[in-house]
């Protein structure tokens, strides 16, 4: 019998297989690429994001993010309801910072209808957007740390976030879907208890954040997992349309609060944290620093907040006060008219954008003079930021994809609208 050497065995088997009458075809087994479906139920994709990854071994060659699993058609729904009725729907866009979305929507409608909200309402709005920014960044920081393996940080940052939700509880009566702003102001005045709680929160926040940071900022594993991973240059970031902390992590100092000051941000002294490296670590640093700046802003806002009304006095456009509805005929009629027919802003179109925790949240509204928008377009930051994913994950390991998604901090409620 002919002896076969060890090296010849595979080829002999192969030949035997191929010589029989079959339709087997054999490629080089080690040259195959694999398509991996990551999500939509994968816990590390922060919601229902589906990623199609083409893998060579464990290295990502290409990636296609699939959006739309949480699509609820909010832009179309907005065309079928009054501006007032759409407020609760904005809660459900970026559901980690509903307060900030409420403010963005109210400001867009006010710009369209030409309503000026009172000073106290504007200061309250600044306070709640900054608190919402902290709440959102805390989740981002905690989730990023959890994605790369540090669970304790997640628990600690969520504990801090819980304190903010407690403030919402007192301020507006809901922890999560706040629906607090109204067109022309805010739903109810900030109670002294709520303001006292805000004061307490900002005094104790920084030591607690420091403690979280002590766990990870000098931790070699955490740093090595993020340093130099998912780098995007300033040029690319601008071309993709990055906004918010992701853009500032790439060294571009752009913040709508500074670039186009709204509310009273021009009277407030704050810094814009910028890191030039453009990797996951830089984006994490930006978020942590931003929460500290937000604390600074809230402190100034509390000092400057004037007394007074929280709803504009504009009978045909803003709902009257409750006590007046009960007792006065005219207010009663306006109440019925506004609820039934809407506020009928003049014919025209506006684009109004604010700096949300995730980036630039803009509403483009077209009115044809009726109570409902003729067209509503939502420019949501998460949607745009996610478009950079194919570029960021290319050449990295599968486990880095998780870290990169965490550092971009998408919220699918907003990306899918």
């Amino acid at each position: 019998m002919e002896r076969v050497t060890k090296e010849e065995v595979p080829s002999k088997i192969l030949q035997a297989l191929l010589s029989t009458d079959s339709d087997i075809s054999v490629d080089g087994a080690l040259e195959n690429e694999m398509i991996l479906n990551m999500g939509p139920q994968h816990p590390a994709t922060h919601g229902v994001l589906r990623l199609l990854l083409r893998l060579d071994g464990e290295t990502v060659i290409a990636c296609v993010p699939e959006l739309g699993y949480l699509h609820r058609g909010y832009e179309k729904m907005a065309e079928n309801m009054t501006y007032y009725e759409f407020i609760p729907h904005t809660d459900r866009l970026d559901y980690l910072s509903p307060m900030a979305n409420n403010v963005a929507w109210a400001m867009a409608v006010e710009k369209l209808a030409g309503i000026e909200s009172p000073a106290r309402a504007q200061y309250i709005r600044m306070m709640i957007t900054e608190l919402a920014r902290i709440a959102s960044h805390l989740v981002a920081i905690g989730a990023l740390a959890m994605d790369v393996g540090a669970l304790t940080v997640f628990l600690w940052t969520l504990r801090e976030r819980e304190k903010i939700l407690d403030i919402w509880d007192i301020l507006c009566g809901a922890r999560f879907t706040n629906s607090y702003t109204r067109i022309g102001g805010v739903a109810n005045d900030a109670q002294p208890e709520a303001l006292a709680k805000v004061k307490w929160f900002i005094d104790q926040y920084e030591p607690n954040l420091d403690e979280c940071e002590k766990l990870i900022n000098t931790n070699r594993i955490f740093i090595e997992r993020l340093d130099g991973v998912g780098v995007i240059s300033a040029q690319d970031a601008i071309e993709i349309g990055f906004t918010g902390p992701n853009l500032r992590g790439s060294g571009v100092e752009f913040d709508l609060r500074r670039a186009t000051p709204y509310l009273f941000y021009n009277e407030i002294d704050f810094n814009i944290p910028v890191y030039k490296e453009g990797d996951c670590l830089a984006r994490y640093f930006v978020r942590a620093d931003e929460t500290r700046e937000s604390i600074k802003i809230i402190r100034q806002v509390l000092d400057k907040m004037p007394q007074g009304e929280v709803l504009a006095n504009s009978p045909k456009k803003v709902l009257p006060k409750k006590t007046e509805i009960y007792s006065k005929m005219e207010e009663l009629i306006h109440d019925f008219m506004i609820v039934n027919f809407g506020i009928n802003p003049p014919v025209g179109e506006v684009y109004s954008a604010v700096e949300n925790p995730k980036g630039e949240l803009g509403f483009y509204l077209v009115s044809n003079g009726e109570g409902r928008p003729w067209k509503c377009k939502i420019r949501s930051p998460s949607m745009v930021n996610l478009q950079a994913l194919p570029m960021l994950v290319k050449g990295h390991m599968v486990s880095d994809v998780v870290a990169i998604i965490g550092s971009i901090d998408p919220v699918m409620g907003e990306a899918d609208k």
Binding site: M81, Y84, E85, F86, I87, P88, H89, T152, W156, R159, E162, D169, I170, L171, C172, G173, A174, T177, S179, A187, N188, D189, Q191, E193, L209, D210, E211, E213, K214, L215, N217, T218, N219, R220, I221, I223, E224, D227, G228, E277, L281, F285, A288, L319, K321, K322, T323, I325, Y326, L332, D335, F336, V339, N340
Partner: protein, 164 residues
């Protein structure tokens, strides 16, 4: 201000990593002795403030009638179309009353808009947040479940008059 390190700036001690583990453990150990932040829910109840938006209820006057005049404004404004009102005539001074008033608690998103627009202070948000159903029919609350005596809602009504 916190320390911010990149890989190249790590000190030798941080690279060795064992001191980091000890530091992390001591931090987490310390937090074991801090006061607990969580609420042991079913035993410890969360007591909401007056501003809390629990399930919407109808205000029942002292004489047993509801305040509602069945104007339908709440069902018009409800963003999730949860309310159904059917009006009927009555001999009382208010002339109209809701023959049927239903809120679908599965649809309701607790936004508080019904309360905000009601011209009669007839529907307010209660502090009730414990709701569980085993089927969909049970989740449709009729007048029997919605009516709550005005005394029990006094602090919410005071809150509305003061802050809204």
């Amino acid at each position: 201000m916190s320390v911010k390190r990149r890989e190249k700036d790590l000190t030798l001690l941080e690279k060795i990593y064992i001191p980091e583990i000890v530091k992390g453990l001591s931090l987490t150990l310390k937090s074991m002795f801090k006061p607990k932040f969580t609420l042991k829910y079913p035993e410890e109840k969360f007591i909401p403030p007056a501003s809390y938006r629990g399930r919407p209820v109808l205000v029942q006057e002292k004489d047993g009638h509801e305040r509602c005049v069945a104007c339908g404004l709440c069902s018009r404004v409800c963003p999730s179309l949860a309310i159904e009102v059917q009006a009927a005539e009555t001999e009382l001074e208010k002339e109209r009353y809701p023959e049927k008033f239903e809120i679908n608690m599965i649809r309701c998103i607790f936004c508080g808009f019904c309360e905000e627009v009601c011209p009669e202070e007839a529907i307010v948000m209660s502090k009730d947040y414990e709701m569980a159903f085993t089927n969909r029919e049970e989740a449709i609350y009729g007048k029997d479940k919605l009516l709550v005596p005005v005394e029990q809602l006094q602090d919410r009504i005071d809150f509305l008059r003061k802050y809204k």
